[in-house]
Amino acid sequence: MTGDPLSILVWLSAIFFLCGFLCMIVKRNVIGMLIGVELILNAANINFVAFGQLSRLGIDGQIATLFVIVLAAAEAAVALAITLVFYNSHSTIDADRGESLRG
């Protein structure tokens, strides 16, 4: 790993994406999978801000990051509402039990 900030940030983003991906696969808890999604969205944020700020691309990267943050908040709200309904009907948040929802 070289010392320049762009490569550090790209590697950090890769680590975040990998951790989020692993989280989504390994965790059977629905909320754990949600946390994985948050990590993946944050990996995209790091790349947006890094390439926007470390070059002359201007503020567009930052604005894309703001939109991603707002969409992540909205996604977390809806997913938690669905999780609560699922918990009320199944008394568990094990994602594998959700196969009874199959249409």
Partner: protein, 194 residues
């Protein structure tokens, strides 16, 4: 000093993200997520992206993670029951993540980012110090969201996406509240209305 802070924040963020995966309990995962997201916010501050850093702290760390912790508390099963990963799932996850890691190593590692960094920086000399680079962007980001571009006057502004996303957020939050309503309340409300 600033570079040292930057690298330290990056390391803390990476460790937080890794400990999110390694923690068993959801509350510990949420705590690690707070560490990771806060250090990413610090990285944004050190990249001179103040608005995004503040938004990350307020919306992500202060909002989304708290929402997740509320979710954990509302759906707490018997406290001891942990959802274990079966060995087959663990092997599949390990295999796919190793494949993904190889992909990242070959893609991210094969690009010499410093050359592209100079290319992206164009004619402008590459600044030595992290604080010098990037525009001091708080007011220009805020103004671009309400339709005025101060940095590049001919570039398009973000007023319409801002409005769309604000209505989207409103609709989504109302829908989330409707979805998560207590069962039976709807019939009671209807019967009392009648």
């Amino acid at each position: 000093m600033n570079d040292f802070l930057f690298v330290a924040l990056a390391v803390i963020a990476a460790l937080g993200a890794i400990s999110v995966v390694l923690c068993r309990k959801v509350v510990h995962m949420a705590a690690s997520l707070i560490v990771a997201l806060s250090s990413v916010a610090g990285i944004f501050f050190s990249l001179n992206a103040n608005f995004v850093g503040a938004t990350q702290l307020m919306v992500y760390v202060g909002g989304t993670v708290i929402l997740l912790i509320f979710g954990v508390m509302l759906t707490s099963m018997s406290a001891k029951a942990e959802l274990k990963t079966t060995p087959i799932e663990a092997i599949a996850a390990l295999a796919s993540s190793v494949l993904l890691l190889l992909v990242f190593t070959f893609t991210v590692g094969s690009v010499s980012w410093s050359e592209h960094f100079k290319l992206l920086a164009g004619d402008a000399a590459v600044p030595k110090n992290l604080v010098e680079q990037g525009s001091s962007s708080f007011s220009s980001v805020a103004l671009a969201l309400v339709g005025v571009r101060t940095d590049q006057p001919n570039a398009h502004s973000y007023l319409l996406p801002f409005e769309i996303i604000s209505i989207h957020l409103l609709v989504v939050l109302v829908a989330a509240g409707y979805l998560a309503r207590p069962r039976g309340t709807q019939q009671e409300a209807d019967s009392t209305a009648e």
